[in-house]
């Protein structure tokens, strides 16, 4: 006999083993929640899991193919609709260009510096949602683009209507997006109607964002559109984030309790765009500094 029969072999008892593994798991949890020193460990496991995620995505792929096949019967109609849409968008774009030029002109006349120097030149990469987590307290999604596709940490993720979230973790072929509604996620925003700036944060609940630290007498009404202000340099300015839903002004509190609803389909999309802000060229930066020093 080469090995003892299993019957007689005594390793450590189940409770001792549980104790060891539970301790190990608790160390990992604490590491992930507090210290975040070893992202490589998670990345290594992520690489192992990635093929399985790809396999799990195959049924969705097949469904997409069938949908495409059905859609191909309506190509003519779709083409017509898209052409019309293009014309309409084109008109808006032309207006925007003339408005931008006019804006620059007016600013020059006023001698005013633009408050925040942000470059609106963005590059967009299309990505598909690979996985949405099963836990209702986990407001993150996995996309099928990663560091191999030049995706970087902190890039903004949008859909056709507004901001979805921000890339917070990167694997070689996939990446994790923290959604707007996550408790630990905030976006600098601006009210379109009067330019009021604030920061909006997630609440951990679906379809609810919290506008913090605005005083009770702030000029804000339900239905106000909130767009990104561009402060912080992560989100490009002017992208819709939320509409103000409910305002509770209780004089007892210092701040008004303002709840907004996200505009983007935070949990409905299949495809999203990953935006990368190209940093403004160095000479342009130097110029702004020069003007600033002159005006002082």
């Amino acid at each position: 006999m080469t090995a003892d029969p299993q019957f007689f072999r005594h390793g450590p008892g189940p409770f001792a083993r549980l104790f060891v593994f539970a301790l190990l798991a608790c160390i990992l949890i604490a590491e992930d929640l507090r210290f975040k020193q070893f992202p490589e460990l998670r990345q290594a496991v992520g690489i192992v899991v990635f093929p399985l995620q790809k396999i799990a995505y195959i049924p969705t792929n097949i469904y997409d193919q069938i949908e495409k096949l059905i859609a191909s019967f309506y190509l003519v109609e779709e083409n017509q609709w898209l052409k019309q849409q293009y014309q309409e968008d084109r008109e808006k774009l032309l207006k925007l260009q003339s408005l931008e030029a006019e804006n620059v002109q007016l600013r020059k006349l006023l001698g005013a510096m633009q408050g925040i120097e942000t470059d609106t030149h963005t590059q967009a990469v299309m990505a598909e949602i690979l996985y949405t987590p099963r836990d209702p307290f986990n407001h993150k999604i996995t996309l099928n683009k990663g560091s191999q596709h030049d995706i970087k940490l902190g890039q903004a993720v949008i859909d056709d209507q507004g901001i979805v979230g921000q890339i917070t973790r990167i694997y070689p072929w996939s990446s994790e997006v923290t959604l707007l509604i996550d408790k630990n996620h905030s976006v600098p925003v601006q009210v379109v109607r009067n330019g009021l700036r604030s920061v909006i944060s997630g609440t951990g609940k679906q379809d609810a964002l919290l506008l913090r630290y605005l005083s009770v007498n702030t000029d804000i009404i339900p239905g106000d559109l909130l767009v990104t202000s561009g402060i912080g340099g992560i989100y490009p300015p002017g992208i819709p984030v939320a509409t103000v839903d409910k305002i509770e002004r209780d004089p007892v509190d210092d701040f008004a309790h303002i709840i907004g609803t996200p505009i983007a389909g935070v949990d409905r999309n299949r495809q999203v765009l990953i935006l990368s802000l190209t940093p403004p060229p160095a000479d342009e930066l130097a110029e702004t500094v020069k003007i600033e020093s002159q005006s002082k």
Binding site: F21, I29, E31, Y57, T132, R134, D135, F137
Partner: protein, 189 residues
Amino acid sequence: MQRQSKLNRKVNNDNHSDAEGYFREEIYLPASTGYILLSLIIALTLNLLPLQQEFLIYRPDFVAITLIYWCVNESHKMGMSIAFLMGLMMDAGNTSIFGQHALAYCIAVYLALILGRRLRIFSLMQQAPQVGLILFVMQAIIVLVAIAGGSNFPGWQYFSATLSGILLWAPIAVLISIPLKQKPDPDAL
């Protein structure tokens, strides 16, 4: 060599005599390690299936159910280290706190190993509620870790995955055991 082909005692529902019932009892081959791993990988893939938000909450944890199945039926081959590794893989795929599922699976496996010998004497239908208890404890641990990480309590609806797990216990157990069924040999006697 271990020749412990396990007799899976199932309560025969049809009213035959005891001797006949004994011969009708199905004999299962011992599962190979490869087959156990394959079943776990398939379960993990099922867990990672992208679904609509509305159905996600009702999806049972296939990995946990498979782990519990092997703890009950092949307890000497099922270790906590496998559960721990599966948990880590689940955490990386599920974008959750690293170690959350690992802890929950380890505790589920511990409970299953302790209750395993007891569970084996029941039929699959009778096992289901007891497995449900294990699944409930496991989900409770996941929620506790999430709350420790600063999340809100997700509501009791979250535990509907335990209910779906109870309902799917018997079908999954039958499905896993199909390849292990011994072929009837006409020349046996």
